[in-house]
């Protein structure tokens, strides 16, 4: 879907495909702008391709392992009312977030 044209600038269709993956609805001016800018940024980022990384493990995070676990016990958490308080639309008595119709 997004094939080709990696660092040489993007076509309008490619930018629209990325926007769809990201749940963004860009206007035509933004689509033009991002086609150029994403190309420029990735052309610069292509510098990393020159580095030999054979056998080098990836680093995804630097979290210390010692903090990762805690006792598995029940603790108080947000009550339903507080969790719904910021919702743009909610059925408060039912305790639900409300969204536009999903099923036809």
């Amino acid at each position: 879907m997004l094939a080709s044209g990696m660092a040489d600038g993007f076509t309008r269709a490619q930018v629209e495909a990325i926007a769809a993956l990201a749940n963004l609805e860009l206007d035509p001016a933004e689509t033009e702008l991002f086609a150029r800018q994403l190309g420029e940024i990735l052309a610069y980022a292509d510098a990393v391709q020159q580095i030999d990384t054979t056998g080098v493990p990836p680093t995804a995070h630097l979290a210390a392992r010692d903090g990762a676990e805690r006792p598995d016990v029940c603790r108080p958490c947000l009550d339903r009312e507080a969790a719904l308080a910021n919702a743009p639309d909610a059925a408060r008595e039912a305790g639900l977030f409300r969204v536009p119709r999903v099923i036809g």
Binding site: I18, A45, N86, A87, P88, V99, P100, V102
Partner: protein, 499 residues
């Protein structure tokens, strides 16, 4: 230079409140009055919570005995607006969080208040902490207290401006690629990014979760040390927070530098602005005169840090920002439409251009067919950057660099050229990629421009950055404090502070 050393430090204010020489209410009122006077020029705050702050100050005055030993008793603090504050709107300077009032406090906010601090407001920042100039705020930019037509840096620009203009002696910021240190440098104050995991991220609105860290901005290194002691430590709400013991950072400031080995990656410093290079060399001379040994170090992969950073951070951001969809909080753009259209229109309307650009870039580098070429490759080079520092720290105790290759630039100067903006982060992003602590401390000013007026006017602050070993904030603070005591750049206040 105008101003002077009259502005009290965090420590002085705290001691005055503790001893009863000043009331917390009086200190709080003074901070609020300064904010009110300076805000029209600076725009450092998104929200000021005067009533809440005064009520808290009264509570401290009523029960002074309880706060006698509190490390931040009565200290007014400005909190970056990407840290959740219970009952106080939190925006991350984005329209998409319109109306959001957090039901809980970030752990750092809770800890500040437990230490006696008084939150006076939420500071302006780049939207979702993405940027280097504060111009990406949906509410308009912050202005540099030293030159109102220039950027205070980003993304914690409001926090830095608040401390520099002497509105509050302390502010909290967050740092994903330099967002505490670069604004600190641009505003002539101290900014500390702790080791990844040193400070809880619970309640920090996520930008890039493997890079984000909360830290203090203050006038002096000693004040930053006190603040770090108050907020550091394990938190059961953040699985990435470390159980590593918290040192007594204030006690670590012995002034002793003899025998310390400071690495200088000379090869990286080509192309640095002449004023910045001069101030940096002079700072190294000060440290050397105190007995530190300067050692040339090589960080061969450091020049790839910016591409790696913008591949890794945008990938993480695109994932983190998927949660803003108009369902649970913030803005919803509604109408006669289906769910997916509601998501897309809400996000289109709610996010600003830089945030969209990064979501797009991050989505692309994570997409099928490009993941290996970009995201995985960047993570591998991240490992090489990490190893460079590991090797350097076998020989040295800290690595010194300028915080930014240039002094604060003009508002509007780089905003239309994202790549140019990103290149300014060259010295700061490595510490985030490697999870290392790093501090920026004032190290001088640019030469005033000819015809700029009375002596010193027009001069802009410059910062020295020291990067240290993981969880060794104590050494960084000790070196920075020793440097500060020989130079006292922090005593220079911008003209606006004297008003």
């Amino acid at each position: 230079m105008t101003g002077g050393s009259a502005s009290p430090t965090l420590r002085e204010l705290r001691d005055a409140v503790r001893s009863g020489a000043r009331s917390a209410v009086e200190v709080c009122r003074e901070s609020l009055a300064r904010i009110e006077a300076a805000e029209p020029s600076l725009h450092a705050f998104n929200t000021v919570v005067a009533d809440r702050a005064l009520a808290r100050a009264e509570a401290i005055d009523r029960d002074r005995d309880r706060w006698r030993d509190a490390p931040l008793a009565g200290v007014p603090v400005a909190v970056k607006d990407n840290l959740c504050t219970r009952g106080v709107r939190t925006t991350a300077s984005s329209r998409i969080l319109d109306g959001f009032v957090p039901p809980y406090d970030a752990t750092v906010v809770e800890r500040l208040e437990r230490a006696g601090a008084i939150v006076v407001g939420k500071t302006n920042c780049d939207e979702f902490a993405m940027g280097s100039s504060n111009e990406n705020s949906a509410f308009g930019p912050v202005h540099n207290p030293w030159a109102l037509d220039r950027t205070p840096g980003g993304t914690s620009g409001g926090s830095a401006a608040s401390v520099a203009a002497r509105l509050t002696p302390l502010a909290l910021g967050s740092d994903t690629g330099g967002s505490i240190r670069q604004p600190a440098a641009f505003c002539g104050i101290v900014g500390l990014k702790p080791t990844y995991g040193r400070v809880s991220r619970y309640g920090l609105i996520a930008h890039a979760s493997s890079l984000d860290q909360v830290g203090p901005l203050a006038l002096t290194v000693g004040d930053a040390a006190i603040a770090l002691g108050a907020i550091a430590g394990a938190d059961s709400c953040d699985a990435t927070s470390a159980r590593e013991p918290v040192a007594d950072y204030a006690a670590a400031l012995t002034g002793e530098v003899r025998g310390a080995r400071i690495g200088v990656p000379s090869r990286l410093l080509d192309g640095v602005d002449a004023d910045v290079a001069r101030a940096f060399r002079a700072a190294l001379d000060v440290l050397a005169a105190r007995g530190a040994a300067l050692v040339d170090v090589d960080l061969p992969h450091a020049r790839y840090a910016i591409p790696v950073y913008y591949l890794v951070s945008t990938a993480e951001a695109s994932s983190n920002l998927a949660r803003y969809d108009g369902v649970r909080y913030g803005l919803r753009v509604s109408g006669d439409q289906d769910l997916r259209t509601m998501y897309a229109r809400t996000r289109e309307r709610g996010f600003g251009p830089e945030v969209k650009r990064r979501i797009m870039l991050g989505t692309y580098v994570l997409s099928a067919g490009y993941y290996d070429a970009y995201y995985l490759k960047a993570q591998q080079v991240r490992t090489l950057i990490l190893r460079d520092y590991d090797r350097a720290f076998e020989r040295v105790d800290a690595v010194a660099m300028p915080t930014s290759p240039t002094p604060p630039f003009k508002l509007g100067e780089r905003i239309t050229d994202p790549l140019q903006m990103y290149l300014g982060d060259v010295f700061t992003v490595s510490a985030n990629l490697a999870g290392l602590p790093a501090i920026s401390v004032p190290c001088g000013f640019t030469s005033p421009k000819p015809g700029a007026g009375p002596a010193g006017e027009g001069a802009l602050p410059i910062g020295l950055q020291l990067t240290g070993r993981r969880f060794d904030e104590a050494t960084l603070l000790r070196l920075a404090d020793a440097y500060e005591s020989d130079t006292s750049w922090w005593t220079q206040a911008p003209p606006i502070a004297a008003r």
